[in-house]
């Protein structure tokens, strides 16, 4: 098998409890432990960089790529400000960010790098990078999630990351920061009483984790629209993390999956999962969704239907 440029992938939640208050509940502690396991695995890998796709960094003007060499600030979460501040100083792979911007453009996407002092890096990216790469042992790259983008743009974004890695001959860890079910309790709760918001959310989360454990990433990618309808609060047009992850890591089911933790985070589904490319496959299903190589803009469905 051809060796992948992505050594392994991590799916992890955006909320700050595992960073700021892991001791507040058994569940938060387990999530923290799972992050620590991932951190060790990254340390023991020969990855050149960590690429983060965070659902808590929405963009409007295409996709934005963090390109400040050492972004530094003290971040505070909009909801969980009472848990404390999150000072950060990260190291970005600026060369890679620029290469990714160009690769995305070559595939028809609107994309830009941003490098401004004080730019507000989102909670999800801060939590992930602080826990997974606390000493900035390897540099990172953070990409935004365009709030209007749907499947085609997200798949093409993932492919442009593969292009950039190939061009630069780099090995990376792909990190998706996203909840599974994302409905939180609308009141303040005792962390020791945290649980998944509803049995339905819990059931779907466990089904998704079954797929992850079987390494069925492309199957999950194909299920994304259904997942969005069933267990995602409709803040954005689609549930995109599995699309991004599959397009970035490879659109197939040949992975070794490991669910390191699954716990509630104020009612939402928080899971830390790893996917490592492997040779055995669960078998590819007959997929409904088309593959797409280049982004050609929104399709004018109505125009095309007119005589």
């Amino acid at each position: 098998m051809e060796e992948s440029d992505i050594l392994f992938g991590i799916y992890c939640p955006p909320h700050p409890q595992p960073l700021l208050s892991p001791e507040a509940s058994e569940g938060y502690a387990k999530l923290r432990q799972a992050y620590d396991t991932c951190r060790e695995r990254i340390e023991n890998s020969d990855a050149d960089l960590i690429i983060v796709y965070s659902t808590t960094w929405p963009s409007i003007i295409g996709h934005q790529i963090q390109a400040h060499p050492e972004p530094e600030w003290v971040h505070v979460d909009d909801d969980f400000h009472y848990l404390g501040s999150m000072p950060y100083k990260f190291k970005m792979d600026v060369d890679f960010a620029e290469c990714l911007r160009d690769s995305a453009k070559e595939r028809g996407l609107h994309s830009r790098t941003i490098a401004y002092e004080g730019f507000p890096i989102d909670t999800g990216s801060v939590v992930a990078l602080k826990l997974l790469n606390p000493d900035n042992r390897i540099p990172a790259c953070i990409v935004s999630s365009n709030m209007y983008a749907n499947r085609a743009e997200t798949i093409v974004l993932g492919k442009s990351i593969r292009d950039a890695l190939a061009k630069q001959g780099k090995k990376a860890i792909a990190v998706v920061v996203s909840s599974l079910s994302n409905r939180m309790f609308t009141e303040h709760i005792d962390p020791t009483e945290d649980r998944i918001h509803s049995p339905k959310d819990d059931e779907w989360n466990r089904k998704i984790l079954e797929f992850f454990a079987d390494g069925r990433l492309e199957d999950l990618s194909q299920l994304s629209r259904e997942i969005h309808g069933q267990i995602r609060v409709q803040k954005v047009v689609a549930y995109k993390p599995a699309w991004w992850m599959a397009a970035t890591m490879g659109q197939h089911n040949n992975y070794h999956g490991e669910v390191l933790a699954y716990e509630a985070l104020h009612g939402s589904g928080g899971a830390v999962v790893t996917l490592t490319p492997s040779s055995g496959s669960f078998g590819d299903k007959e997929f409904d969704e088309d593959d797409v190589e280049y982004y050609h803009g929104d399709r004018d469905v109505l125009d095309k239907g007119m005589l």
């Binding site: 003007i61 971040h75 909009d78 909801d79 400000h81 009472y82 404390g84 002092e117 507000p120 609308t186």
Partner: protein, 301 residues
Amino acid sequence: MPKGEIVLGCLAPHPPHVVYAENPDQNEPVSEGGWETLRWGYNRLARKLKTIDYDALVIFTPHWQTYIGTHFLGLPEFKSKSVDPVFPNIFRYNYDIKVDVELSEIMREKASEHGIITKMMRNQDFRVDYGTITSCHMLNPDWDKPIVTISSNRNAHYYSAEVMNEQAAALGRACAEAIEESGKKVVLISSHSLSHRHFVTESPLPEDMSREHIYNHSQYVWDMKLVDLMREGKMRELIDILPEFTEQTIAETEAGGLTWMMSAMGFPQYSAEIYGYQSVIGTGNLVAAWDPNAVTREIVL
């Protein structure tokens, strides 16, 4: 102590573009202008505000999004830099904001008494959102009055635009009671655009006005429907159709600001003062005000 009162309500959209176009010292990027229809309207409303006696500005913002209740700023001063996460190329603003914590606390208490989940925000490292900064800068560039920011609880996401309308109205009633009890004269600010579909590309020069227009005509028609109702003084009717407007134009009214303000002001049956309407990166933006004082109320445009 005399009863407090709401002396003016302002609809104050916050595309950072208008601050960028004004070129104030606090903002790092430099522009060649742009969006004059909106800015000149804002400038005129800011001049009116200078003639009004008031103690504080209370602003409801879509860019402090909370899912666990409604939060209130709860420290006397915030000094930092605000960089817009979406348009960092045009908005990097150094701010120094004074907060009326006393008023903030009374409002939180009242809201809580009304059954609304609330929280005071007392983390000194918290960054005040760019919606607050943009609207407040345009209305009071001297920053000589304290403010209170109220977060927007995202009921429209979790439930529906109808639920958002109900809860924002309840918050408005609670805030009105709190203001009365406080004995203060307060200006309310509802900070948001109307229709809210953006272009996903930007011209090389963001202020190139030859490229600026509304995203599509149906957004414009809906925006004008709202402006007509405002002119006619039919704010109850407007709030009643707001869920439909919000869904059809993916409007920024989804955060609840306009409903909150109109409810706090008792759904005015007098004409709004219209100061200007213009699109910014495709979204529909209106500067308007509701003056409860019939003597000073004007027909502006």
